[in-house]
Symmetry: C2
Subunit: 405 residues, 2 copies
C-alpha cells in the first residue's frame, strides 16, 4: 500500500464523461489499497472563459477579484469528481485550496505557497477516503482566496506530495510523458523513461510545455519524485527525479523550442554604474521573468541591454521601465516579436565539450542566423528567427542522435 | 447617509450587461454617500445547470458536494459585480459567505444561519468600500461550505441587514413589488405600497413567489424593515414592516395561488394515541414542510390523515413514512397532484368576520369544489382543483374589492 498524489489537468477533466473516466482510474488505484490525494484543475476552457467575462467588464480586472472568480473553476471540478467517485461507491471528499490548508503569500494571481497544513487531509486519508483537492488555489493569511498562476495545479500536487509525505506523485496530462523533442515538430522524437529535475527544469524553461519550471523546482527542492503520464491510456510515462543513471553515455537529452518569448532591446540607457541593475530590479518587481540577457556597452555613454521575456509581459515590461528611464535620464524600449528560443539540454553536457560547437555548426549548415546565445551547465539556448525554429529543432535532434535508441 | 443592504436576484445579474446595470444602480446609492452591503445570487440558470451536471454523474449527489458545487455560482457573481464597480471607479470588495462570517448549522443544502460576524464587513464599510457578499451560502463550524436552500440569498440579505444594523434593506427582483394577486392571472391586481410581515408571510406560504417565508420570518424576528422592488426600473416597491397603518379599512390584502403543492392522503393508519404525532415527526425529521392538515377518524380502528407538502417532496415523504408504517403496523400513502391552494390574506381579518363566508360563497357561485380548508388569524386557504385555480383567484380578487383603490 502506497500513498499517492495524482493530478489531472483541465483536458483530463474537460467534461462529464472525462470526469467519470478519471474517477474510474482513481478507483483502480483505490481498490489496490492505496491512499489517494487527487488534485484537479478547472475543466479546460473554463479559466479562459471566466477571464473573458471579467475582461468584458473591465480591461484590467482587480487581481484579488480575478482570484475570487477563477477559484470557482477548480471548485466545480472537485465537487463533480467527488460525486463521480461516489457513483462508483468510492468514499471521497472534496477540498478547496483553503480547506486543504494551502497557505500562500498575498501575490494575487501568482501567489507562492508558504505552508501546507496536512492535518485535515491526513484525517480523511486515515478514514479511507479519497481526498480531492482543488489545484491552482490557496488562501493567504488575511483569509483571501489566491491563485498560483500558470502551472499552479501541478505545483499544488507536488507541494501536497511533499506535505503528506507521499510515496509517489503522478501528473496526468494529455501527453505520454517527456519527449526528446516536440513530436508534432520532430517526427523521430522519443519518449524518455526518466529524466533528472535539472534537465526537466531546463526543458521547461526552454518551452517544453509539459510542466512549468516552478513545479519542477519545488519538486527538486523537496525531493518529490514524480511521473508525467497520460490520463488517456495506461502507458508508463516519464519519471522525474534527482539522479538518473544512463545506460548509454547520452550527452543531449532533449531539444526544446519556445515561441512564446519576445526579444526586448533597451537602448539609449545612460551608461552609469547600477543602470542595468535598476532595469532588472524594476522588471523583477513587476514579476516579469527575464531570460537570455546580453549587455552591449555602446558609445557616447549609452548602453544597450537585450533580453527575452514571456510574450504576454511585453506591455508590463514597458510599463515597469517608464519610471526607470525617467529616473536614469534616458532609455527606450524596442520589442521584437518574431523570434524563437531553441535549446538543447542534457546533464551529460557538464562533462562533455563540443555540444555548443555541434549546435552552431548544425545551424550554420542550415544558414540559420543566431541572434542571442546563453548557456548553463546543462543547456545551450539560442534565439533565432521564429519561422526557422521547427527546421532548426529537427536538425539539432538529428545532429545529437536523439532519434536513435 | 444611511447604511443599506441591497440584494439582487439571479435575473438581475443574469448576464454581463445586467451586472453592469446593477453596478450602475449601486454606484448611484454609493455616490449619495450611503454605506452599501450588496448581496448577489448566482446568474439565473447557473444553479440549475450545476445541479444538472451533478445529476448527470450521480442520481443523488452528496449534499456536501452539491453545496461545494453550487457555491461557485454566487462566487462568480460577486467577483464580476466587484469588477463592474471598479470599472465605474467605485471601491468594492467581494466576500464569499464564509469570508462574510456567515456561520450556519451543518444541514447541507438547507442550512440555517446561526451567527454572523460583522467585523470584516464593518471594516470595509468604514474604509468606504462597497461590500459584495455571495448570497445563499455560509460555512459551518467544521469549515464546510453550506448553502441555505431556496430563497437563501434573500435570507443572506436580511440576516446581514440585522447583523450590520442597516437602516434599510432593499430586495431587488424582477417584479415591482407585492401585488394583491399575481398580475399574470388577475389583470386588475394592484401593487401594495406597504404590507406587514404577517401578511407577507401568509402570502409567501400561499404561493406568492416574491419571497420565501423563512426570509420574512427572519426579518420579523429581528425587525428588519425591507423593500421589495424591481432592478429593472426605479419605481418604488413594497415596504414590508411590522405595523402597517391603513388609510382605508381593508380586510383582505391579497389573493395567492400555490400550484406547487400536492395533497397526500395517509390511509389505514392504526388509530392509536401518538400515531399522527409519529407521522409528522418523521416528516419534520426529513425537513418536509407540511401544510393544511386534516385528520379523519375512520371506522375499524384506522384513521386517515390528509395534508399538503411541496411538490418536490412527495418522494421524500413516502420514503420517510415507510419505517413509520412498519413501526405502527399499518398505513399507506396516496398522492394527489392536480391540486392548487388558494389563499386570501389580510391582518384586517383579525377583527372582521365574514371573510370565510364570502370566499366560500364566491367559489360556490363558480361551482368550484373545496377539498380542504385551513385558516389562521389572517388567512383562509382552500385546496381546489388545479385547473380552476386562476378562475378562482380572479373571482376572489373581485369579491374582496381588491381591484379598487
Amino acid at each position: 500500500m502506497a500513498r499517492i498524489v495524482q493530478k489531472y489537468g483541465g483536458t483530463s477533466v474537460g467534461d462529464i464523461e472525462r470526469i467519470k473516466r478519471v474517477a474510474e482510474r482513481i478507483k483502480i488505484a483505490h481498490d489496490e489499497g492505496h491512499e489517494l490525494v487527487v488534485v484537479v484543475s478547472a475543466r479546460s476552457g473554463v479559466t479562459n472563459e471566466l477571464i473573458a467575462r471579467a475582461k468584458a467588464i473591465h480591461e484590467h480586472p482587480s487581481e484579488r477579484e480575478l482570484d475570487m472568480l477563477l477559484a470557482t473553476g477548480e471548485q466545480e471540478t472537485i465537487a463533480l469528481t467527488a460525486i463521480a467517485l461516489h457513483a462508483l461507491a468510492v468514499e471521497a471528499v472534496s477540498y478547496t485550496g483553503a480547506q486543504a490548508g494551502i497557505f500562500t503569500d498575498k501575490a494575487h494571481t501568482k501567489a507562492k505557497i508558504k505552508t501546507i497544513n496536512p492535518q485535515p487531509i491526513e484525517h480523511d486519508l486515515q478514514a479511507g477516503r479519497v481526498v480531492i483537492v482543488a489545484g491552482f488555489q490557496g488562501i493567504n493569511e488575511d483569509g483571501q482566496i489566491t491563485t498560483l498562476g500558470r502551472g499552479g495545479s501541478d505545483l499544488t500536487a507536488i507541494a501536497l506530495a511533499a506535505a503528506v509525505r507521499a510515496d509517489k506523485c503522478e501528473i496526468y496530462t494529455d501527453v505520454d510523458g517527456v519527449y526528446t523533442a516536440d513530436p508534432r515538430v520532430v517526427k523521430d522524437a522519443r519518449k524518455l523513461d526518466e529524466i533528472s529535475y535539472d534537465e526537466m527544469l531546463e526543458l521547461a524553461s526552454s518551452g517544453s510545455k509539459v510542466m512549468q519550471s516552478r513545479s519542477v523546482e519545488f519538486a527538486k527542492k523537496y525531493d518529490v519524485m514524480f511521473e508525467v503520464r497520460s490520463s488517456f491510456n495506461h502507458n508508463p510515462g516519464t519519471i522525474v527525479k534527482e539522479e538518473v543513471v544512463y545506460m548509454e553515455q547520452v550527452v543531449v537529452r532533449g531539444v526544446a523550442v519556445d515561441k512564446d518569448q519576445i526579444k526586448v532591446v533597451v537602448g539609449d540607457l545612460p551608461d552609469k554604474p547600477g543602470s542595468a541593475a535598476r532595469v532588472f530590479r524594476a522588471l523583477a518587481d513587476a514579476n516579469i521573468i527575464v531570460d537570455m540577457i546580453v549587455q552591449n556597452i555602446g558609445h557616447n555613454g549609452v548602453a544597450n541591454l537585450t533580453f527575452t521575456v514571456p510574450l504576454g509581459d511585453s506591455h508590463l515590461a514597458e510599463q515597469a521601465l517608464g519610471p526607470v528611464f525617467t529616473e536614469l535620464g534616458g532609455g527606450k524600449v524596442t520589442v521584437h516579436n518574431q523570434i524563437a528560443k531553441l535549446s538543447v539540454v542534457g546533464v551529460g553536457m557538464k562533462t562533455h565539450s563540443g555540444v555548443a560547437a555541434t549546435l552552431f555548426q548544425t545551424l550554420a549548415e542550415h544558414r540559420i542566423n543566431i541572434e542571442l546565445i546563453s548557456t548553463s551547465e546543462i543547456k545551450i539556448s539560442v534565439v533565432i528567427e521564429a519561422a526557422r525554429a521547427d527546421e532548426a529543432a529537427r536538425a539539432a535532434h538529428a545532429a545529437f542522435g536523439l532519434d536513435k535508441l
